[in-house]
């Protein structure tokens, strides 16, 4: 137990690093994912194909392989990123595909009548998407978006293997300095992760009931 108390500061810095990693990459992935989702429903075939290909390829490759590309392949083409930037790149590229699918499912959940009405008053594709579909889609995508976010939090742990001093990395270092305290360290780390993921899960359940539109 004393190992935990003596190292509260370093554990806290790992926790903060995890939060920073998650915050930056989830925003980047969400933006990229929304753009991809717009492409996926657009009337322009080439954009649809490009976005579908992106999602299918990325979703079927392990996130670890994406991390490998960000860390070991990019330097080969003269793009040396530091660990944090590489981890953010990998997480954003990977989760953009999942956010895209969540947003698309939300777009598909918007009642067809809404679109027909938008078209009837003469809105273009861009206008109906921006003014009618996306504002409604956001509501029904909030629970799946939070699920993707929870997955992102958990995947951010992989960054530890590549030297980002986030929570799991801090945990490993603590275990290396004090092998007798393995179990307390593991449990503390688990509790800290659960603090993020269970809170997000509860929030998802709440929001689902609150923003759910009766259709």
């Amino acid at each position: 137990m004393s190992t935990i108390i003596n190292n509260l500061g370093i554990l806290w810095s790992g926790f903060a690093m995890t939060l920073a990693l998650v915050a930056v990459s989830s925003v980047a992935a969400l933006v990229l994912g929304t753009i991809l989702a717009t492409f996926r429903v657009s009337p322009v075939p080439i954009l649809r194909t490009a976005s579908t290909t992106y999602v299918e390829v990325i979703r079927n490759i392990p996130s670890t392989v994406i991390f490998f590309f960000a860390l070991f392949a990019l330097p080969q083409v003269d793009l040396q990123l530091d660990f944090f930037a590489a981890a953010v790149t990998a997480l954003s590229v990977y989760y953009a595909a999942f956010f895209c699918e969540a947003v698309r499912s939300g777009i598909n959940a918007v009642a067809v009548g809404q679109l027909e009405a938008a078209r009837a008053v003469g809105m273009t594709f861009g206008m109906s998407l921006r003014l009618i579909v996306l504002p409604q889609a956001w509501r029904s995508v909030i629970p799946p978006l939070i699920n993707v976010f929870i997955a992102l939090v958990k995947t951010s742990a992989i960054a530890s293997a590549f030297g980002v001093a986030e929570m799991l990395n801090v945990m490993e270092r603590l275990i290396n300095t004090d092998a007798t305290a393995v179990l307390p360290i593991l449990f503390t780390t688990a509790v800290l992760y659960l603090a993020i993921t269970l809170t997000a899960g509860l929030a998802a359940g709440r929001l689902e009931r609150k923003v759910a539109v009766s259709r």
Partner: protein
């Protein structure tokens, strides 16, 4: 419904689509040009570099890794299916303590990073001086994690069945367990089969975490190869590995889509009351 966003294209829309196509093509061409010029400028396009993928010893190493990956995937899949069925049944039990225990299991293990679970199984027992082999550390942690996910998938499938199914079972004198085993689980599994296959894809991807604890699966063997050959072979080798995963998983995803399609076709051709029931199930699964 995607098609409802835009009308059948008139002349003006067709013109817009043409502009969009040109702009999209330019954008993609731009991205490709930047990528290719970067690769070329760093000598990453030389045939000698990519020819490494044709080397017999590299292929042997990667296929050995693929074998190890599949071994972990299949063992942990079998365990997590068994665990998933037990958890689904447990969460639907009429005994509060069984329900509670299953719920805690699901919430805790779904909420933790898999990598942390791997460390738990790999390092935790060392507190009692027990050494867990990397294979089993990987299999046990993946199985524990996925049993929680698969349990929830199965539960949603069982819950989506019409109430009459269980009631009919009880009416002809089946016990709760027998009704679950003979009526609910077989149908529930069929309803959620596409989600289950999607989870198998995820499970297969998760085995790549084995490289962190030194289990010699596909990714680790690729890393070993790159370390041996030199860093400039990183892109060809990792692309090769990505293709391995991509092909395996696309086949799985494609199977899932075929099953999904077969199901929708059946529900359309079935008699009216049955099809409305099937349609309801479909919606529950998608949610």
């Amino acid at each position: 419904m995607t098609a409802a966003i835009y009308d059948v294209a008139g002349p003006r829309t067709r013109r817009r689509i043409t502009y969009g196509t040109v702009a999209g093509a330019l954008l993609l061409a731009g991205i490709a040009a930047v990528a290719i010029s970067r690769l070329a400028a760093n000598g990453q396009l030389s045939p000698e570099l990519w020819g490494v993928l044709a080397r017999k010893d590299l292929q042997t190493l990667l296929f050995k890794g693929l074998g190890a990956t599949l071994q972990v995937a299949l063992t942990s899949l079998a365990l997590s299916l068994v665990g998933g069925v037990l958890l689904a049944v447990g969460r639907l039990s009429h005994r509060p303590w069984v329900r509670g225990a299953a719920r805690v299991w699901v919430e805790v293990f779904r909420g933790l990073p898999l990598l942390l679970l791997i460390f738990f199984v790999f390092l935790g027992p060392s507190a009692w001086g027990i050494h867990v082999p990397t294979f089993w550390a990987l299999v046990i942690s993946i199985a524990v994690f996925n049993s929680a996910v698969i349990g929830e998938i199965l539960r949603s499938g069982i819950l989506s069945l019409p109430k009459g199914q269980a009631e009919a079972g009880y009416a002809i004198g089946l016990t709760r367990g027998a009704a679950m085993r003979l009526i609910l689980i077989p149908q529930g599994v069929r309803v959620v089969l596409p989600s289950l296959i999607a989870q198998i894809v995820t499970l297969l991807k998760e085995t790549s975490l084995g490289f962190i604890i030194g289990y010699e699966e596909l990714l680790r063997n690729g890393r070993i190869a790159v370390e041996y050959l030199g860093g400039k072979y990183a892109i060809p080798v990792y692309t090769g590995i990505a293709l391995f995963y991509l092909v395996t998983n696309l086949i799985l995803s494609w199977t899932a889509r075929r099953i999904q399609k077969g199901k929708t076709n059946r529900s359309i051709t079935a008699a009216a009351p049955a099809s409305s029931e099937a349609a309801k199930n479909e919606v529950t699964v998608d949610a």
